[in-house]
């Protein structure tokens, strides 16, 4: 009888007599995964290191956000299938408690055994932070936190969407504004609004007033938007009206991009100059990787050729050969990089995709090792590099354009040119050939596309733009060393294109902003930059392989049903389902 009752229970939810079933195994599993994540965040150092950064002054730090997030999320996740509020709170609390208990266990174990002989971050500061300064006596605190946060998150999950959505968005907004506080404060200060800035921001976070203000603005805005339904109104507009609306929006965006360095001041100008440089290079790789589908992990090889060409041609110091102006050297940088691209590309372009990636990775290393070797020391200066590379425009050092501001505009201008070239090519015959090759080489060859030549063109173009990026880099830094030629340049650029969206120009720009801008802005992130990169790459491949802002084609091809997935899988010998073909 009981088993019958259990089996039919889901049909009778709402009737008081039958106790609802909770899938305790799932809840415990989610709790344990949460526990693993929480311990990981503590020991890998994210919790203690980010704890040094105030999000809301005196209230909460970034490290606490990470810790509390790892406790609340299992709660929300465990409760997502619960049918009643009571069940939701119960499951959420249990999942959160398991996570919290694991942290408690960490504190207890840490007070008995010195974990620091292995894990550098298992320091007294970590334990003190986890127990709110109480030490071992406060070991119970994380468990209680987990219980409460898990239940709270589960409860929020049960709220009607009308209330939950503004609430969640408001909290996210506080998090984002708090993260970017330094960036947002700079224009206020340079505009002479120091007093306003002091009300809202501390040196690296929000004030309590600021946090409340941001939260209420976002919540109110969200509620108003729900009432007024802005999105639906825009969608309901006729096409021409929407087009008209888009023009001022784009114009506004362009204006902001153009005055950005003026708004942000010198430190941030350096950061955005780097972002602009990476946008330029990512647009270049976007042709090779995004359009033609060639995963080039040796991008830095051509970057090096461009940078060293500019160095050799323009430097006024030792190893400088010609002492010509920057602008005369740039075409040579691109030309030499393109020639290198052809020389390196010709032999390897018949290799299949994943092997090509490794082979190009090898090229990047070969070039780096050669640049620093004694063999080329008389020519390239070995580890001492080439110094005294002149700025593209010689302006008085008091001028705003003497520093990174200049490079920002130059890199941006070049990026626009590269994007334009890529866009024109994509819509032409050659672009369609690239996309055909990316989709299926065999079919592309069958319809008469010459594989090697078409791929070579994409590779050489990417190389030329990498050379351009290297040239601009040399102008930005004013010197070039073998240590600048490292694998991480290649990885950065490839990650930008992949995370942003292969083949998509706005996506790639966005990718550069995320992957270069954010880590540069937060010194706390410096050590964890590549950890987040790796997670972003895996997460993207798992959940959104087409990127943040994909091009139309990529979106369609990666989100079609099973059959096309099987075709895309190529020769991975997919298991064909019965009834197909």
């Amino acid at each position: 009888m009981t088993s019958d009752a259990v089996a039919t229970a889901p049909l009778e939810t709402g009737t008081e007599a039958v106790p609802s079933i909770i899938a305790w195994r799932d809840v415990i599993r989610i709790g344990l995964i949460g526990a693993a994540i929480a311990i990981y965040l503590c020991l890998v150092g994210i919790v203690p290191v980010f704890h040094e950064r105030q999000l809301i002054a005196g209230v909460i730090t970034l490290g606490q956000v990470a810790l509390f997030g790892s406790m609340a999320l299992p709660g929300a996740f465990a409760a997502r299938k619960a049918s009643t509020l009571r069940d939701a709170l119960l499951t959420g609390a249990v999942a959160g408690l398991i996570t919290g208990l694991a942290v408690t266990l960490l504190v207890v174990v840490g007070s008995v055994v010195d974990l620091r002989v292995m894990f550098l971050n298992a320091s007294p500061e970590l334990y003190s932070m986890l127990t709110m300064g109480m030490g071992t006596a406060g070991a119970w605190i994380p468990a209680v936190e987990g219980l409460l946060l898990g239940a709270l998150a589960a409860g929020v999950g049960q709220l009607p969407d009308r209330i939950r959505s503004p609430l969640v968005r408001g909290l996210l907004a506080v998090l984002v504004v708090g993260l970017f506080a330094g960036l947002l404060r700079a224009p206020l200060l340079s505009a002479g609004l120091g007093s306003l800035s002091a009300v809202l921001f501390t040196s690296d976070g929000l004030t309590v007033v600021g946090a409340v203000l941001v939260f209420s603005v976002v919540v109110l805005g969200r509620v108003v938007r729900q009432r007024v339904a802005v999105g639906e109104r825009i969608a309901a507009l006729p096409d021409e009206r929407r087009q008209q609306l888009r023009i001022p929006a784009i114009a506004g965006l362009v204006a902001i991009v153009l005055i950005l360095p003026l708004l942000l001041g010198p430190f941030f100008a350096q950061v955005i100059a780097l972002v602009a440089l990476y946008i330029l290079m990512a647009f270049g790789l976007n042709i090779t990787l995004g359009l033609a589908g060639l995963l080039d992990l040796g991008f830095v090889a051509f970057f090096a050729v461009g940078a060293y060409t500019v160095g050799l041609f323009t430097s006024t110091a030792e190893y400088g050969l010609l002492d010509i102006p920057f602008w005369l050297a740039v075409p040579f940088a691109m030309l030499f990089a393109a020639i290198f691209g052809a020389i390196l590309g010709l032999p390897i372009l018949s290799i299949r995709g994943d092997y090509l990636a490794i082979a190009t990775l090898g090229f990047g290393e070969i070039i780096r090792l050669l640049a620093g070797s004694n063999l080329l020391l008389p020519l390239l200066g070995g580890p001492r590099g080439i110094i005294n590379i002149p700025k593209p425009f010689e302006v008085p050092s008091t001028s705003f354009f003497s520093g990174p501001g200049q490079i920002y505009y130059i890199a941006l201008a070049f990026a626009v040119v590269v994007a334009f070239v890529a866009w024109r090519l994509r819509n032409g015959r050659i672009g369609r050939a690239w996309i055909a090759i990316r989709e299926d080489e065999d079919v592309a060859e069958a319809v008469g596309i010459n594989l090697i030549q078409t791929k070579l063109l994409a590779y050489v173009l990417g190389a030329a733009f990498a050379g351009l990026g290297g040239a601009v880099f040399a102008g930005l830094v004013g010197s070039i060393f073998p240590s600048s030629i490292n694998l991480f340049v290649s990885i950065n650029v490839a990650a930008i294109v992949i995370v942003g969206g292969m083949g998509s120009i706005p996506g790639v720009a966005l990718g550069a902003l995320f992957l270069i801008g954010i880590p540069e802005l937060f010194r706390e992130f410096a050590d964890y930059r590549f950890l987040f990169y790796g997670m972003a790459l895996i997460g993207m491949m798992l959940y959104r392989p087409e990127g943040i802002w994909p091009s139309g084609i990529a979106r369609r091809e990666l989100h079609v049903e099973d059959e096309s997935q099987v075709i895309l899988a190529g020769d991975t010998t997919p298991i064909t389902r019965g009834g197909m073909s």
Binding site: P347, A359, L537, G570, T573
Partner: protein, 366 residues
């Protein structure tokens, strides 16, 4: 119409000419490489700067390094054979083994076991290898579960990118756990000094590395060829769906393959540390890349090929720079040993993609 007719042949002509130019370029490339190798070797030998003992010494170091490459390469090759994917994070699995072995060695040293007597030292080394193999296996299985399994039927580049991501996550996780500093294994006294083998100058550490690598490889070969699980692995890499129809648990076989490859890599990590002593979180990357080169060299998917490829690459890396380059007057030729290894990778991919022993798989039309 007339213009069309005129354009078509001229277009084809251009295509023919470029095709010819490409072929000519590839031949020139081959000739240059062969010339460098042959002329460089002759000049070096003619100079007679190095005695026979030096060459033997280099060959032994090369063999020790090569056996480590071979052990790591086995993981690449087995996973490739079964899933047709490049497990880019395998180098980091190797690094994980090195860390596990290090902490075991430190613990054993603190207990006073590590150098108590020769027997205790040998047992300690075995324990270190076992712990390293176990941790590497755990790491590899976590990576497989999170980053690879959901992507089994995705287009080829997708799992590769995910694997690159996993490689970074592992590196920086270990950096976060243990810091960016350099660790050094506690010295094991019985490995110091030369082995009493006549005419050959060989360190005990090298004996250990070569000996245990050979033992593990023989063990693996027998396991894959004789045991039931080994047969299942070979069946799944031959044809997944047919293997599934024969009642083989494909998923479990894949996991087993990852586990075996990872265990070998973890063991290789401990052995590597006996040769080079110092390491940090980044230590796995380049040996991983070279082990992949070794796997390709031997013919990827081919187990004896990976062993052969590893040894070959180790020898080329140690002997190559001295033999090919010093004769040509290249200063500090040893700086360029990685250049030779990576050039080797490109050469094999271009001119003999099937490797020394394998089938032709690296071209698109497999």
């Amino acid at each position: 119409m007339a213009t069309n007719a005129a354009q078509a042949p001229s277009g084809r002509l251009i295509e023919r000419v470029t095709e010819l130019a490409i072929q000519a370029f590839l031949w020139a490339f081959r000739i240059v490489v062969v010339l460098i190798v042959v002329v460089g070797s002759i000049l070096t030998l003619a100079q007679g700067r190095y005695s026979a003992a030096v060459w033997v010494d280099l060959a032994i170091t090369g063999a020790a390094l090569g056996s480590i490459y071979a052990l790591v390469a086995l993981g690449y090759t087995m996973v490739y054979g079964i899933l047709r994917m490049i497990n880019f994070a395998h180098g980091e699995v190797f690094m994980a083994g090195m860390f596990a072995g290090y902490f075991t060695a430190v613990a054993l040293n603190n207990m006073g076991v590590l150098n108590a007597n020769p027997l205790a030292s040998i047992v300690s080394i075995v324990v270190m290898i076992l712990v390293a193999a176990a941790l590497s296996t755990v790491v590899s299985l976590i990576v497989e579960r999170i980053a690879y399994r959901p992507l089994r039927n995705a287009p080829r580049l997708v799992p590769l990118i995910s694997a690159i991501g996993a490689s970074f996550v592992l590196q920086y996780t270990f950096r976060g756990f243990f810091g960016p500093g350099v660790y050094a294994y506690p010295p094991i006294t019985i490995l110091d000094g030369k082995a009493p083998i006549p005419f050959i100058d060989i360190q005990w550490a090298e004996v250990l590395v070569i000996g245990s690598a050979i033992a593990m490889m023989i063990g693996l070969y027998l396991f894959v060829m004789r045991s039931k699980t080994g047969t299942a692995i070979r069946a799944v890499s031959e044809d997944q769906s047919a293997a599934a129809l024969m009642g083989i648990d494909v998923n479990r076989t894949i996991v087993t393959t990852f586990a075996i490859g990872a265990a070998l890599a973890g063991a290789a990590g401990v052995l590597y540390a006996q040769l080079f002593h110092q390491f940090n979180y980044f230590v796995g990357f380049f040996p991983g890349l070279k082990a992949f080169t070794a796997a390709v060299l031997g013919g990827i998917g081919n187990i004896p090929g990976a062993m052969l490829g590893g040894l070959f690459l180790g020898e080329i890396e140690m002997i190559g720079p001295v033999l090919f380059l010093t004769g040509l007057g290249v200063p500090a030729a040893n700086q360029l040993k990685d250049v030779i290894a990576f050039t080797m990778l490109v050469l094999v991919l271009v001119f003999r993609p099937q490797g020394l022993l394998g089938e032709r798989v690296t071209r698109n039309r497999a």
